[in-house]
C-alpha cells in the first residue's frame, strides 16, 4: 500500500519513464485543467457574491476603535496630545466615503469639485485646521495606520500639533469597479491659539476635505451589516499563492531531477516557467497591497 502511494507520488512529481520523463502534474492536460478551473471560478465567484452575499463577500478587521487607538498611540509616542473622537468629523468622514462610492472616485476632491473642507463644514465642525487621510484595500486597522505613517504627507496629518479632534469612517463598496474597504480619516482643530498658519484648500491636497449633508450615514452601519462567511479576497489570494508555489515547486523538482540524470527531452525550459510564475506572484503581491491617498 505504502509502496503504491510512493510510486503514485513519484509519477506525479518526478520525471520518470512512466510519465514520459515529465512530472505528470506538468503535463498539458493537468495545466489545461487547472487553468479551466481558475477561469470558471473567476466567473462563478462574482455570481455567488451577488446572489449569496452572506456566503461570499469582503470582510475586514478595520474598526473605528482600533484606528483611534493606534492613531493616538502614534501621537503619544511623538509627545503629542491624543485626539478626541468628534461626532461631526465622523459624520464628515462617513459622508465623504459615501460620496466616493456614489460618484465612484478615488481622490480628495470629488469630480464635481467638492473639497474635503466642504464636507467638514457641512458636518457643523468649524475648523481652523483640517486634514484628510484616505486608505483603501486594507483589511486591518494596524496596516492602515502603518501605511499612513510610512507616507510623509499622511504622517504629517497624523502627527500635526494643530489638530485636536478626529473622525473616521470605514465602509465597503465598489470603487473603480473593485470591491474594497475604504477608510476615511478627518482631522480638525478649532483652537485659534494652536494656529500658526491656517490651511486653505489650495495649500494641501492631502489635507482638509469635507461633507455633504444630503446623505446622512450612521457610524454603526458597518458593524451591523452581516459579514459574509468567506472572504473573497483572502480565499482567492491564498489559492493563487498556493497554486503558484505548487507549480513553481514542481517545475523546480522536475528541473533538478532531469539535470542530475542528464535526461534529454523536448519540453519548454522549466527555469523560464519558474521566473514567469514568480513574477506573477510578485505582481499579485503588488495588486493586493492597500493604497493610501
Amino acid at each position: 500500500m505504502i509502496g503504491k502511494i510512493k510510486n503514485t507520488l513519484k509519477h506525479l512529481f518526478l520525471p520518470l519513464e512512466s510519465n514520459n520523463h515529465r512530472a505528470k502534474l506538468l503535463h498539458h492536460k493537468i495545466l489545461f485543467l487547472v487553468t479551466l478551473v481558475l477561469l470558471t471560478s473567476s466567473f462563478v465567484m462574482p455570481q455567488i457574491k451577488t446572489f449569496s452575499p452572506q456566503i461570499l463577500g469582503i470582510t475586514h478587521n478595520v474598526t473605528l476603535d482600533e484606528l483611534l487607538l493606534l492613531t493616538n498611540q502614534k501621537r503619544i509616542e511623538n509627545n503629542l496630545p491624543p485626539l478626541v473622537l468628534s461626532p461631526e468629523l465622523s459624520l464628515a468622514a462617513s459622508n465623504k466615503a459615501d460620496d466616493m462610492f456614489v460618484k465612484d472616485y478615488w481622490a480628495h476632491n470629488s469630480p464635481d469639485g467638492k473639497t474635503p473642507w466642504k464636507f467638514i463644514r457641512d458636518s457643523g465642525y468649524n475648523y481652523i485646521y483640517a486634514g484628510e487621510n484616505l486608505a483603501r484595500g486594507f483589511t486591518s486597522g494596524g496596516d492602515v495606520v502603518n501605511a499612513w505613517m510610512d507616507s510623509p504627507t499622511h504622517r504629517l496629518n497624523v502627527l500635526s500639533p494643530n489638530y485636536e479632534d478626529i473622525g473616521f469612517s470605514v465602509m465597503t463598496g465598489k470603487l473603480g469597479g473593485e470591491e474594497t474597504v475604504l477608510v476615511v480619516q478627518e482631522f480638525g482643530g478649532r483652537r485659534e491659539f494652536l494656529a500658526k498658519k491656517p490651511l486653505s484648500a489650495s495649500e494641501s491636497s492631502e489635507s482638509v476635505r469635507e461633507i455633504p449633508t444630503e446623505s446622512p450615514v450612521e457610524l454603526p452601519q458597518e458593524v451591523i451589516k452581516q459579514k459574509p462567511l468567506i472572504d473573497s479576497i483572502n480565499v482567492t489570494s491564498d489559492a493563487s499563492r498556493a497554486i503558484l508555489f505548487f507549480f513553481t515547486g514542481v517545475f523546480a523538482m522536475d528541473m533538478v531531477f532531469v539535470e542530475r540524470r542528464k535526461i534529454i527531452r523536448f519540453v519548454g525550459h522549466n527555469l523560464d516557467h519558474i521566473l514567469f510564475l514568480l513574477s506573477i506572484f510578485g505582481i499579485l503581491w503588488i495588486i493586493l497591497r492597500g493604497v493610501v491617498l
Binding site: 481558475l38 484595500g137 465598489k174 473593485e178 506573477i280
Partner: protein
C-alpha cells in the same frame, strides 16, 4: 561560449520583459482593469518570447508551443481569479 552568451541574453531579455510588465502594473494602480490587461499582455509576450527562443535556439515542436501558451494562460487566469473573483472587477 557563444551558447552561454546566447543564454545570458535570452534570460536577460526575459527578466526585462517581466520587469517591465511588473512596472506597468504598479504604474496602473489603482486601475484594476488596466492592471489585468497588463498581466494578460505580459503573459502573452512571455509565451511568444518562449516560442521564438525555442524556434531560434532549440528544436521547436507543437508541444513546446502549447506548453508556453498554457503557462502564460495559467498566469493570466490566476490574476483573473484574484481580480475578478476576489476583488470583483
Amino acid at each position: 561560449m557563444q551558447k552561454l552568451q546566447d543564454h545570458t541574453l535570452y534570460y536577460l531579455s526575459l527578466i526585462v520583459i517581466l520587469f517591465l510588465g511588473s512596472l506597468f502594473v504598479i504604474d496602473a494602480s489603482p486601475n484594476r482593469y488596466l492592471q489585468f490587461w497588463g498581466i494578460v499582455a505580459t503573459s502573452l509576450v512571455y509565451a511568444i518570447w518562449g516560442i521564438i527562443h525555442h524556434g531560434r535556439n532549440h528544436i521547436l515542436v507543437a508541444k513546446i508551443v502549447i506548453e508556453y501558451i498554457l503557462i502564460g494562460a495559467l498566469g493570466a487566469s490566476i490574476a483573473l481569479l484574484v481580480l475578478k473573483g476576489g476583488l470583483g472587477i
